[in-house]
């Protein structure tokens, strides 16, 4: 079974194997970090509340992504989910590579090198076994179109896919608009997801502030 973080990375792979442009944006990276925190929570390595993340165990999980994140969460100071996500953001490129590597190793993705404009190297990850990606999309759709209370996994998946800009990869703008209320209702009923959303807002605000700095 693939981890939530791998599932999220899989949703960033387009039909032609290209990594979606959203995967290069801060929101996706923070959603991926959030997925790692949720996975670590599920494996009893940490727990979170509105003010802090509490490390429960530093025992390795055997998952390189989760162990990388856990290893970076050192120090005695208690930080909130939002603060950890912002602090761990430099690890995102490594996490993306680890996630894609794990999916290749599982035989879900292939890895192909090609040339773009005859010169630039381009790496694509064609989907080998479409079952997992299809299942993730179907779970999201079924959560959004049904009226059930979502499972903890599905509410997190919807919340992080929304935060990471991944819904746009398989839903039209019109569909997203139509489902907006249900997305808001059942997406991300989870304290880690709320921390991720706060981190994304803070990151966007910081970027906006930087843009407004006087040039002279």
């Amino acid at each position: 079974m693939i981890s939530l973080a791998e599932e999220l990375a899989l949703l960033a792979i387009e039909d032609d194997g290209a990594v979606a442009y959203t995967a290069g944006q801060a929101g996706f990276g923070m959603a991926l970090l959030g997925a790692c925190l949720v996975d670590l929570n599920a494996q009893g390595r940490l727990d979170a509340d509105l003010t802090a993340v509490h490390i429960l165990s530093r025992a390795p999980t055997g998952d390189p992504m989760l162990d990388l994140v856990l290893g970076e969460m050192g120090g005695e100071t208690l930080l909130s989910v939002e603060q950890w996500v912002l602090q761990l953001a430099p690890q995102v490129p490594k996490l993306v590579q680890l996630a894609l590597g794990a999916l290749v190793k599982r035989g879900i993705l292939a890895q192909k090198e090609s040339r773009f404009l005859w010169v630039l190297k381009e790496r694509r990850y064609p989907v080998m076994d479409g079952r997992e990606q299809k299942e993730a999309k179907l779970r999201i759709m079924s959560t959004l179109l049904g009226d059930d209370v979502p499972t903890p996994h599905d509410t997190v998946l919807v919340g992080l896919a929304r935060a990471g800009g991944l819904l746009e990869g398989f839903l039209s703008a019109q569909e997203i608009h139509r489902l907006e209320s249900r997305i808001g209702e059942v997406g991300g009923i989870d304290l880690v997801v709320k921390g991720v959303e706060a981190a994304i807002r803070e990151d966007q605000a910081a970027r906006a502030r930087a843009m407004m700095l006087p040039m002279y």
């Binding site: 509105l50 979502p150 991300g188 709320k194």
Partner: protein, 116 residues
């Protein structure tokens, strides 16, 4: 190690669940199991009230156990409500969005009146 004591009472066929203490990672699985077992019992309750009078803390893992309980109740066709939330627990429910999918009452009497 946290301590959460959960007691169950039945009032006119409605099960009142009283968690007492901290609902964190250590306590979440047990609490979730209590809710699921109660809902799956052959003598299905007419409703389930989680009376949070003595619940002092809910973490991310604890919130998931509430979500699973609410989902199991809906699947079983059992009305599921919460009551008597402390300020800190209400804040967790509000910030997480759980309060949008769950019915909340000020106290047990109001919850029982609704389910009665």
């Amino acid at each position: 190690m946290s301590v959460l004591n959960t007691t169950l009472e039945t009032v006119n066929g409605v099960v009142v669940v009283l968690p007492e203490g901290r609902l964190d990672y250590d306590a979440a699985a047990g609490f979730q199991s209590t809710l699921e077992q109660t809902l799956a019992a052959s003598d299905k309750p007419r409703g389930m009230i989680i009376d949070c009078t003595a619940l002092s803390y809910v973490s991310s893992a604890g919130l998931r156990s509430f979500l699973v309980g609410a989902r199991s109740a809906k699947s079983a066709g059992v009305p599921f409500v919460v009551c008597s939330l402390s300020q800190s627990v209400r804040e967790v429910f509000t910030v997480s969005g759980f309060s949008r999918i769950i019915e909340e009452h000020a106290d047990r009497a109001a919850a029982l009146a609704k389910l009665g």
